[in-house]
């Protein structure tokens, strides 16, 4: 559809685009990325025929761009400008009708029934038909953008060029616009080439991305390959982190602000922050901690600063435990959104905790344990799946920076240490009579300050894993021991 070879060009003899080659095929959604001044708009201007290149070639549908007249080109390529401004107040329909210019023939451009039909059709598509008689300056920014889009679509283009189409648009309009564009590429074979400011939107919607760096192609590939942390950080000269999108297989880039960490004084998470009462064990962290947990509230991956392990009676009604727990947290005066909450039927004075230090980092482990509903994971199919308040709850607070991998490995290591402690204590699954590996409702939390020394791994023989293994094993032994004593008494 579009082929660009060794394109070089710019303004007043300075090269802004240097030796750029790529091609875009029919029905593709192609994104152009790059920091300010990297030449995105210049490249788009050359593709749309506004700016003549110094050297290199642009061909559209196999013919050089220069061989098309302005009208012929407008029947193939339409452009949605970043912002439109008009000197006079035209009505929406007048504006959209201008898009038919290239299709009209004769000296006085007779307006045909087909023109009228297409103008109404594109106004319906873009949702501006109801404004047909309104004047442009009466519309909001988002509405005007849709009018511009309707005008471009009225050209019945095969290629649509867009310059930061989502700029100035509300979140919902951004999504609508890009959803529509994506739909058209699939259904009508429209080719979309768009400049993006927002890396995440580009990654979500584009089939391929082109990353420009000072006028040259830095990378051109699928979004996942182009949006690599170190590459983006280098081109945009900023710290950035990549994460997977929670719902679709597309990368998301997040900025890392400079201020955080420098301003807040780093405070060690240790046993002095623990508050233990009959009703709950609580830890309030001075800063937010990166957490991975299986709590009742605040589970999954997130950032939290309040950690509550709540004692509930054995007869606690679990039908809507999540909202009940959230209410409870609110009653204590905390934001549920900032809190990880767990439940246990164990008496909290039986909790066991330990603080372990190693070169450059330290961890606090807190365990509450009861083994009334112990289960052997390898034979758990004999158990029913009813939920009762958790009995072995493990908290690990790490003063250090963990990768996601280290989080997961830390949980594995802790689980293995717990199983080993139960084995050591000969805790048996009451149904099978075999040694239990845990209880049916155990919870786990690993939280890290994300400051200090960085730990890539948390496996059993890594420095982190060694502390976790020891801490969880010791605390579980002690906690189960305490609770057994109580049962015997």
């Amino acid at each position: 559809m579009l082929k660009i070879e060794q394109l070089t060009g710019g303004y007043s003899q300075t090269d802004i685009i240097k030796d750029v080659s790529f091609s875009v095929s029919r029905g593709e959604m192609f994104g152009i990325l790059g920091p300010n001044g990297s030449g995105k708009s210049t490249l788009l201007k050359m593709v749309s025929g506004i700016l003549a290149p110094y050297s290199g070639s642009i061909s559209i549908k196999g013919k050089p761009i220069k061989s098309y007249s302005a009208k012929e080109l407008a029947r193939i390529i339409a452009v949605l400008p970043q912002h439109s401004s008009e000197a006079f107040s035209y009505s929406v329909k007048e504006t959209v009708s201008l898009g038919r210019y290239a299709h009209q023939e004769g000296w006085f451009h007779t307006w045909s029934g087909k023109d009228e039909e297409i103008v109404w059709q594109v106004m319906e598509q873009t949702g501006v038909a109801m404004f047909a008689d309104s004047l442009l300056h009466e519309l909001s920014g988002g509405e005007r953008q849709r009018v511009s889009l309707a005008q471009a679509l009225a050209q019945e283009p095969e290629i649509l060029l867009l310059d930061e189409p989502t700029n100035h648009l509300d979140l919902s309009y951004q999504k609508d616009l890009l959803d529509n564009l994506k739909g058209w590429t699939r259904n009508t074979g429209l080719t979309v080439i768009s400049i993006f400011h927002d890396l995440n939107l580009a990654g979500l919607y584009c089939d391929r991305l082109l990353l420009l760096d000072r006028g040259r192609i830095k990378s051109m590939d699928s979004p996942n390959e182009v949006l690599r942390e170190e590459q983006i950080a280098q081109v945009y000269q900023t710290s950035i982190q990549k994460q997977p999108h929670p719902k679709v297989p597309a990368p998301q880039m997040v900025l890392l602000p400079e201020t955080e960490g420098n301003q807040t004084e780093e405070k060690l998470i240790d046993e002095s922050l623990l508050q233990v009462s009959d009703e709950y064990i609580m830890l309030r962290s001075p800063q937010h901690l990166r957490t991975m947990s299986s709590g009742v509230v605040g589970s999954g991956i997130g950032w939290h600063r309040n950690f509550i392990n709540r004692h509930v009676g054995k007869d606690y009604d679990c039908s809507d435990h999540r909202s009940e727990m959230a209410d409870y947290i609110k009653k204590l005066g905390f934001e549920p959104g900032e809190t990880v909450g767990m439940m246990t039927a164990v008496f909290l004075e039986d909790a066991s905790f330990t603080f372990l230090k190693e070169e450059g980092f330290s961890i606090l482990v807190v365990v509450t344990a009861g083994v009334g509903n112990a289960v052997d994971a390898s034979r758990s199919k004999v158990h029913s799946s009813e939920l009762v308040p958790g009995t072995i709850n493990i908290w690990m607070f790490v003063n250090g920076e963990l990768t996601e991998e280290a989080f997961i490995q830390g949980i594995m290591t802790a689980t293995e240490a717990k199983a080993k402690a139960l084995h050591e204590l000969m805790v048996r699954d009451p149904l099978t009579g075999t040694i239990a590996t845990g209880t049916s409702t155990d919870s786990i939390l690993i939280a890290a300050t994300q400051h200090g020394s960085k730990m890539d791994y948390g496996g059993t023989v890594t420095p982190l894993g060694k502390l976790i293994g020891r801490g969880v094993y010791d605390c579980t032994l002690e906690a189960v021991g305490k609770s057994r004593k109580r049962v015997k008494r």
Partner: protein, 350 residues
């Protein structure tokens, strides 16, 4: 209040043409009828009817003489000049996306004057052009002026802001004005004639001047009417116009040439008459919308009618002395110019 009005305008195109035509007809009748000797409207129609069909009706020969040899040519000339300046102004405004642009504010009128004064000053007469030497030189100079003004404005400010263009126009107007003063100072004789002509007037021109302006008016207007859709596109910006499929370079050239032809010819027959090209397109746009397909022809009617009325006012207001017509148009036009400028500023702030 205006909004309801402007919204309605879209469906009233036929009404718009009827209204504009009626306005022009009424202005013409008034222009011919009113004066030191007043001629009843009925007689005017009879006289013209008789003249066209070579009848000899029973009418006052003095009235016939006044109508056919003095007032009718004067009204037609005023109409043609007004129409030329108005349509040229509408085109310049669309092309430059600038409601303050007109032949006068852009300095094009001054350029045309320099061309005309030079012709008179050196007594130039092109052998093949004869009567058309003066307008041809005016047109040539208006064309050169608009190009220098636009080139200069682009040099100052790539984005060609409204204010930059106007300022450049004013600088060139002043400069060209002093060139004219210099030439007048050097001539000595014919002084009053040139000054009177410079202030702008359509008096005592006769049918010859109509023959001079008519072909240029026809060519210029025709060229502009052919480009009315392109003007619509270009009022969204040249880049946008190019994207829509307009051959911007070629069309811009045609529009500038046509505008220069109209301005040059108008200046050649009547001197510099300011603000017609500014006020008329502006009011016409306010009444019937910015679509150039209709704005250009409607401006022809309203511009013609306006200048006929301005001329009527100029020659009757302190009768028997005649004011230069440029005084009247400036008295109306300058305040309108101020209002537009003020609206633009508050729009930008708001």
């Amino acid at each position: 209040m205006l909004r309801l009005f402007t919204r309605k305008r879209l469906n009233n195109k036929i009404f718009a043409y009827l209204f504009a035509a009626a306005f022009l007809a009424a202005a013409m009748l008034m222009g011919i009828s009113i004066g030191t000797v007043s001629v009843p409207a009925g007689d005017i129609i009879k006289i013209i009817w008789a003249e066209i069909f070579r009848l000899t009706p029973d009418l006052d020969p003095m009235h016939t003489n006044i109508v056919l040899n003095i007032r009718l040519p004067r009204v037609i000339l005023a109409g043609l000049v007004g129409a030329s300046l108005a349509i040229a102004g509408a085109a310049f405004q669309g092309l430059l996306r600038n409601p303050l642009a007109d032949p006068y504010t852009l300095g094009v009128s001054s350029g045309a004057s320099v061309g005309a004064v030079l012709t008179l000053f050196f007594g130039i007469s092109l052998p093949f052009a004869g009567l058309f030497t003066l307008p041809l030189f005016s047109i040539l100079f208006s064309f050169i002026t608009i190009f220098i003004v636009l080139w200069f404005a682009r040099k100052i400010d790539r984005s060609m802001k409204v204010e930059t263009i106007i300022l450049t126009g004013i600088i060139f107007s002043s400069f060209l004005g002093s060139l004219i003063s210099l030439m007048i100072a050097l001539t000595g004789e014919e002084l009053r004639q040139i000054i009177g002509w410079l202030l702008g007037s359509v008096s005592m021109r006769g049918w010859d001047y109509i023959k001079i302006i008519l072909p240029f008016f026809a060519i210029g207007s025709f060229l502009l009417l052919l480009n009315s859709r392109e003007l619509n596109a270009m009022s969204f910006g040249e880049e946008r116009a190019q994207h829509i499929g307009v051959n911007v370079h070629k069309r811009k050239m045609i529009i500038l040439i046509a505008g220069s032809i109209l301005t040059g010819a108008a200046v050649a027959v009547s001197g510099t008459i300011g603000f017609v090209g500014l006020v008329i397109p502006h009011l016409t746009r306010l009444l019937w919308g910015p679509d150039h397909v209709h704005l250009l022809p409607l401006s022809i009617f309203t511009g013609a009618g306006f200048l006929i009325l301005a001329d009527l006012l100029a020659r009757t207001i302190i009768s028997p002395t005649e004011l230069p017509i440029g005084v009247i148009t400036a008295l109306v036009g300058a305040p309108v110019f101020g209002v537009i400028l003020m609206n633009r500023r508050s729009e930008r702030r708001g």
